[in-house]
Symmetry: C3
Subunit: 333 residues, 3 copies
Amino acid sequence: MKAFNDLADFSNEEIASLIALADRLDKNPEPEALKGKVLSLLFLSPSLRTLASFQAAMTRLGGGSFVISPEMSIHGIESRPGIVMDGAAAEHIREAIPVIASYGDAIGIRAFAERKSLEADMQEKEFRALTDLVDTPYINMESAMNHPCQSLADWKTMNDLSVPANGGKFVLSWAYHPRPLPLAVPTATLHMAAKRGMDVTVLRPEGFELPEALMQKAAAAAEASGGSVRETAQRTEAMEGAHIIYAKSWSSTRHYGDKLADEKLREQHIDWCVDEPWFANAKDECRFMHCLPVRRGVVVADEILDGPRSVVIPEARNRMLAQMAVLHQMLGN
Amino acid sequence: MKAFNDLADFSNEEIASLIALADRLDKNPEPEALKGKVLSLLFLSPSLRTLASFQAAMTRLGGGSFVISPEMSIHGIESRPGIVMDGAAAEHIREAIPVIASYGDAIGIRAFAERKSLEADMQEKEFRALTDLVDTPYINMESAMNHPCQSLADWKTMNDLSVPANGGKFVLSWAYHPRPLPLAVPTATLHMAAKRGMDVTVLRPEGFELPEALMQKAAAAAEASGGSVRETAQRTEAMEGAHIIYAKSWSSTRHYGDKLADEKLREQHIDWCVDEPWFANAKDECRFMHCLPVRRGVVVADEILDGPRSVVIPEARNRMLAQMAVLHQMLGN
Amino acid sequence: MKAFNDLADFSNEEIASLIALADRLDKNPEPEALKGKVLSLLFLSPSLRTLASFQAAMTRLGGGSFVISPEMSIHGIESRPGIVMDGAAAEHIREAIPVIASYGDAIGIRAFAERKSLEADMQEKEFRALTDLVDTPYINMESAMNHPCQSLADWKTMNDLSVPANGGKFVLSWAYHPRPLPLAVPTATLHMAAKRGMDVTVLRPEGFELPEALMQKAAAAAEASGGSVRETAQRTEAMEGAHIIYAKSWSSTRHYGDKLADEKLREQHIDWCVDEPWFANAKDECRFMHCLPVRRGVVVADEILDGPRSVVIPEARNRMLAQMAVLHQMLGN
């Protein structure tokens, strides 16, 4: 495995095999599997779960990792091409990335979207500019439009809960949040559930449609797996018979990169906070998923997070197990 | 061992056995004992010794650790229950703690006292709210009123120096400090020395009495072990025949949580800085202990810290060894 | 090996043997060599390469490390001797260093020059004050006037490239930089190339002469190895037949510690940016070396860094390999 960049690069059989490996490593630890192996972890954006779970994963497999973030360098890291570096930054990403990568057997990179141009972000221009500098295998730890580690963990979480693939009803719902958030998790989640063969409904207010090209990519994945994809702004209809509601806020695609217009539109939907009434016509056993961190009382009510519907803690633990499987395949003998 | 939260939870025999294990691991390393095991380290308060010694301890036993502190999360971690999270914090402790714990085989947690209410702090309300969220074994890395890792290291340090248990005279002395400091170390130290069976004198100015309930808990522990506990403001009397002076500043219990009143009272005792004259009627071999960090020329004179009485460096090294023993018992097979 | 502080402490045979060990560990990993061993890493100055490469090195050899920097302590670390610590700093280096060292089997220390007095910095007063507090073996991770890990990596890099020792022509060139930088890398590099037996030219504007005592030390090393040392301000003459140009900015030695005078002098040489015309009369295969981080368009042109002359990435990777060899000899059985 040269890269773990997009779940779309793997067949459903390969994903099943990764998840089986994650389950096996959970039950039968292999503390010598990656003996002496090093994972470089480069965080150009903040992290808690990803930071902790990758370090834990490498330790459990007998290897280790180190963490680099821009504030460790003298006065930050420059990323603009062709620039005369006479300002604050003392180092350019063109040196920093290959050097950091050269100390590891693989590198994990996190870099959030620039969020100036939806098109540029959808093309993953920034993230590709980084991975192009890397010779070792790499792992996408969240880019502008992807978060494959989260998606693999989410897929495993639904398997753990015996949520049906074909015939399973998955609602990906927008939620209110005081800030405009990246599209990485919603677009990755949309594709993951579609690829798993589920009937996926994207529930969101007008102005928060997911990008057409990504809806189409998901629809194609759904079709290949026997599922379907649609979107709506009608909550009651969307939740009908749902097995899963996956809540996540994201910024307006209509006003992408325009903070003020985004805020104005977002503030009209402050009532999009998942609480028990949302589940009125869902399956009795309908579960609540979220990638975390989550804002209590804003994205979701305490009663849901603290009640039996929530699976956010085992879902987060699956991050570690899913990544152990990826690392085992990528770096093991 | 499900928790290492309070030395009072362990019999003197169990403590002796932990210290024997620490000695053994010092002489005969076991670099495979915790192969592939992970310790989560959550610091809600700053640290240097604890941070370093726990990481070193896990490496020496063949495992590993990862460190999380609030500034790593996006905009900090919220801890107030029932709050609508529409402010800066993007994550609540109710998710952060169980997630972080789920990546480890055990978790160490440090959270200083809130220092608003002495009663609430004595009940360890804040720390218990955190450990209640944890399913794995946990280690108290300093809470409002406890610091069991320090106490186990201190006990071992006195064993290393052949300081007698019964008949050993232990002076826990308040010292001046420009800031009001937590009660964790003094109250833990008081109990440790009493439980070890020593004759313990708490030496402090009026207004800095340790809480009555903790004095009584220590007195009961002393009685069970053949020791005694008393307090005084008279230095000469207190130091008579002392084997150990353990210096530590702490905030006024009379003005707990009242910074101004505390400061006013504290500033009257700027002369409480341990120097050689303090030892006039102590045992010749009387040693100086301190948990570190210590302010030179404020809490203790350079001549003491740099002279033969000071055991603060081996005492600090014993932190690592004591924690190795705890981790070995907690996570070993 | 009790200390890795200065390449001058080692014979050329010992250096050859360290480099051979680095090569061997690159080809045949030894993930059990330092099982359970701990390296303490103390950074009193910022770092990226050193931070990452030492952590990776210890993991590859089966051990581990922990990182301490001043901001982790409560309100920073005091270093002035004899001071009454009633200000912000809660801990003194006299406790912090021995404690941190006591948790490891060896300690790496980085502390940049004070840059007030050239004489004091040349005597390594500050760094020696730190290492005097350490009982374990230690590694110089960059001091006022030395950077032996960089030099060992640079030596290995030239071996990898088959750059001749005797008869090899090495140009150490000053370059423009918006800030006055330490002398550690240029003085260490000068000595390294001389000791390797090369013909070394220090190319720098007037006012940026390297200290006379260090030039003489390098000349003695060169003589013993069959090389030579000279300095000039004439670029064309300096580059004649060069195998290597090693660029690095450093502060004016004429105005050492005088920021304004240094800046005034430096700004006259903003054209000292290495680009292709510099190589006009060098060897065809002349390579560009730099310790990184490097400012693009200021110290060196993009065309050089991105072209075939640059070896800065493998040079940086050799940091890890060189340090693995040092650690293996220092801590292995």
